[in-house]
């Protein structure tokens, strides 16, 4: 049965090549444009840490109060050192880390090599387990290193390749600015995108998103007065000078993350956070009721609009284009099918049921859809490849073609074409056999 319909379809498509090519081109162009923009959208809204992101939470505490005009009642994304230190000491979560970005000049031991810039984060040792950082050599530092603020250092694989030729460098020393550090671990490949954990710089788009080069203990960084590389935000009336003043100020600059494996943990932590802010109010530090948030990674990304608005608007436009192509295809298929009224009349007169006619034309539509889908695959591939020319590496490197995208392209083409063919097919099935035979 289907074999026969298939044959009929091929014959029909051949009879009118220009119309067929037009329909195929429309399907291909429509589906490719929505798939390319979808690939960009998907890349940017992808879960940066599948399986883990829902249990990583960022506590936010409003320490500026309702007078702060910039944020519409939302607490800042980062914490003051006062609050970060208090949360670290309270240890109300199974795993937790304070975090801020640091930048150094690395002075190679070999005096003939030029110094170069490295970037990284000051974290607690929980960071590595919380954010699934694999270790190629060694391990994160101990809890004692965290408390004492020693000069332990975890470096990236890239930096290890550059400095030590990829060999096990645990125990070696590295000079950052004027201070010597000992390597305790070399991280494997790890670079989740978008870089959600760096909440202090989450809006910075010029960053190319390379993997961080170094991690060092938070306590050490604070003791050594290593300034944040993402800057701190102070109230306009802040007058303090120097490091100690910053540590005792309400300036916000420390990101904080907690690992809360179960919903009950999250619930407990949320109430802990609320009680903490309430205690600050009782102590007179805050003159406003507790205003805290506990967002996990997906919620945080939605809150900060991690997906650029332009990408979403492009996707909407591409969907519009697909819709116009579909309307177009309905018209062309209607023309194509109705031109064959005579053939339909003959088949109906010879005993074909309406259902049989319908099935025949839907088969034809599905075939056109499949061919259009193949063209769409080609155009999608070209489009995604072309993203590299259109966008900066930070965005372009995220967009990729995979089996899911290819499958979806084909599926959308076929389903869309069959949907578009429903009305023309219905019209074709309504053709009266006698009328067609008589008029010719």
């Amino acid at each position: 049965m289907f074999g026969y319909y298939f044959e009929l379809a091929v014959r029909s498509l051949r009879r009118n090549p220009v119309l067929t090519i037009l329909i195929v081109a429309l399907i291909g162009a429509g589906v490719a444009s929505s798939m390319v923009t979808f690939a960009a959208l998907r890349a940017m809204s992808a879960d940066p840490m599948p399986g883990k992101s829902a249990q990583l939470y960022e506590p936010q505490i409003d320490n500026w109060g309702p007078a702060n005009p910039d944020v519409h009642g939302e607490p800042p994304l980062t914490l003051s050192y006062i609050d970060a230190e208090a949360l670290l000491h309270a240890h109300a979560a199974p795993r937790q880390t304070a975090l801020y970005q640091v930048a150094f000049s690395l002075v190679p031991a070999d005096a003939t090599r030029a110094p170069f810039a490295v970037k990284g984060y000051a974290v607690t040792t929980d960071f590595f387990a919380m954010f699934n950082v694999p270790m190629a050599y060694g391990a994160g530092w101990s809890a004692l290193d965290d408390d004492k603020g020693t000069d332990a250092l975890v470096i990236s694989r890239r930096l290890n390749d550059r400095l030590f030729g990829g060999t096990d460098s645990v125990g070696r020393e590295i000079r950052l600015d004027n201070h010597d550090y000992r390597v305790v671990g070399v991280a494997g490949d790890w670079n989740p995108q978008p870089r959600f954990y760096a909440t202090g710089s989450i809006h910075v788009t010029t960053d190319h998103g390379d993997a961080p080069d170094v991690f060092l203990p938070f306590t050490h960084a604070v003791e050594q007065q290593i300034a944040t590389a993402w800057g701190n935000y102070c109230r306009p009336d802040y007058k303090g000078m120097g490091w100690d003043a910053l540590l005792h100020s309400e300036c916000v600059w420390v990101a904080f993350w907690v690992d809360l494996p179960t919903p009950a943990d999250a619930w407990h932590y949320a109430s802990f956070l609320h009680n903490y802010a309430a205690a600050q109010q009782r102590m007179g530090r805050f003159s406003w009721p507790p205003n805290v948030r506990l967002r996990n990674v997906p919620q945080l990304l939605a809150y900060v609009h991690a997906v650029p608005e332009q990408v979403r608007v492009s996707f909407l436009l591409a969907l519009g284009l697909q819709l116009v192509c579909l309307v177009n295809i309905i018209g062309l298929l209607l023309a194509k099918f109705m031109r064959r009224s005579v053939e339909i009349g003959v088949r109906r007169a010879l005993g074909a049921s309406r259902g049989a006619i319908g099935l025949q034309f839907l088969t034809e539509a599905a075939m056109v859809g499949a061919v259009g889908g193949l063209l769409g695959l080609l155009l999608t591939g070209i489009g995604v490849y072309g993203m590299g020319a259109l966008f900066t590496p930070k965005i372009a490197r995220l967009v990729h073609v995979d089996a899911d995208l290819l499958g979806l392209t084909l599926l959308v083409s076929i389903v869309a074409t069959v949907l578009a063919a429903l009305y023309p097919t219905w019209r074709a099935a309504q053709v009266q056999p006698a009328w067609q035979l008589k008029s010719n």
């Binding site: 608007v313 284009l321 309307v327 031109r339 259109l390 900066t392």
Partner: protein, 406 residues
């Protein structure tokens, strides 16, 4: 007469007619909004910085290790003196940023009184010295330049409340409409500063700033802080490449313990990189528009072509009854014009609705209504273009067809 005939004929092709009308309407709605967004982006990308872009070179300098403020200022003074003495360099200064330099800047709240509830205007600050105007090629329209003794050393945060400032004409107009701003006092975060000069035009450092994009303030200070700074140089005409080679070498000769990320960079390249994603999205949307218009032309052409094939006999009869080729041609052209007009009427409504939706969910301004007639003209033209081929074929149908059976 022709029109009544056309309407009667279209009644027989109700479904196809409705589909074309719908398609034109959707196309108009989407293209108008897309063109509007593209135009907004292009205006953003093209907004002038107000500086002598072609001759500017930027060097990012970061000292290795921690240093006292006094030491850093001494080094900065040495560096700047050396740079200004290079043969190809017209002038140089140091800043924590540069025009359209990146995503962030020191935002200033400027009021006319201390402790004002809402600022009169927002602005963004540059760190500047007595060489800044000449380096950037800025034109002083009133007042005077900074004097060397007015420059202090410190971070941009320390420099936020200087006794004297230079502002752009845009900001001066906002603070003191229709009067001279020179000598007037303003309050930056409640601390008083006197405006001593007004420059014609200078874009703010943060590229994302829209509502006060030309409200810049020059703060007389040297960027002495741990994050490093930018050396901004203006090359003499024709000396740009020579300066780009010579400047980093000269700096390294003074002191090796520094990191210059990427060496000397052309200002034009830096500015292009900042807007790369904007350009990408603009290009992507333009391509979507082109494909959309092509699809519409193809669709209309295909369907009309089918109609012509279907009506060969009727056309033949009309020709046999005395209709000229021109009349047949005009018949299809008029028919297309009527259908497209229907689509445009519906599409104008859709365009406004789509714009309202985009305004609600995304930060987009209202679509200027002038886009609708432009879009309509484009669609009328494309419709005529699409129908021309099939209509010419229809006009070529000989009268003898009427006498033949299919």
């Amino acid at each position: 007469m022709q029109i009544r005939l056309i309407l009667a004929a279209l009644r027989h092709h109700r479904a196809a007619t409705v589909l074309i009308v719908l398609q034109i309407a959707l196309t108009l709605a989407i293209v108008c909004n897309a063109l509007f967004i593209i135009q907004l982006r292009l205006a953003h990308i093209a907004r002038p910085t107000g500086i002598d872009e072609a001759h500017i070179v930027v060097i990012q300098n970061q000292w290795i290790g921690k240093h006292e403020t006094a030491q850093l200022s001494a080094r900065l003074a040495t560096d700047l003196a050396a740079l200004r003495q290079l043969p190809g360099v017209a002038d140089a200064y140091a800043d924590y940023t540069y025009p359209a330099g990146g995503p962030w800047a020191a935002v200033l709240r400027i009021g006319l009184k201390p402790n004002q509830r809402a600022p009169t205007s927002l602005a963004e600050g540059y760190q500047a010295d007595d060489h800044t105007l000449s380096t950037l090629g800025l034109q002083l329209v009133a007042g005077r330049n900074f004097r060397p003794d007015e420059i202090v050393a410190g971070s941009v945060d320390d420099a936020l409340a200087p006794p004297v400032i230079i502002v752009t004409r845009d900001l001066a107009e906002r603070m003191f409409p229709h009067q001279s701003a020179v000598g007037k006092r303003v309050y930056i975060s409640d601390k008083p500063s006197t405006i001593i000069g007004v420059v014609r035009h200078l874009e703010v450092p943060a590229v994302g700033t829209h509502s006060f994009a030309y409200c810049s303030v020059l703060l007389p200070s040297w960027p002495v802080w741990p994050y490093g700074s930018f050396y901004v140089l203006r090359a003499k005409p024709g000396q740009l490449d020579a300066v780009m080679r010579a400047a980093p070498k000269a700096l390294l000769a003074i002191n090796r313990m520094r990191v210059m990320d990427g060496g000397a960079k052309r200002y034009g390249d830096l500015r292009a990189a900042v807007y790369a994603d904007d350009r990408g999205v603009t290009l992507l949307m333009s391509m979507i528009c082109v494909v959309l218009l092509l699809a519409t032309v193809g669709g209309i052409g295909g369907l009309t072509s089918f109609w012509v094939g279907q009506r060969r006999r009727q056309i033949g009869i009309r020709r046999a009854l005395g209709a000229t080729r021109g009349e047949i041609l005009r018949y299809f052209q008029t028919e297309n014009f009527l259908i497209v007009s229907g689509g445009i009427a519906l599409g104008s409504l859709c365009a406004v609705v789509l714009n309202l939706f985009l305004m609600k969910h995304y930060e987009l301004p209202r679509l200027p209504l002038s886009y609708l007639p432009i879009g309509a003209l484009v669609l009328w033209a494309l419709g005529q273009l699409a129908v021309l081929g099939p209509a010419l074929r229809a006009a070529a149908v000989p009268p003898v067809v009427a006498t033949r059976s299919v």
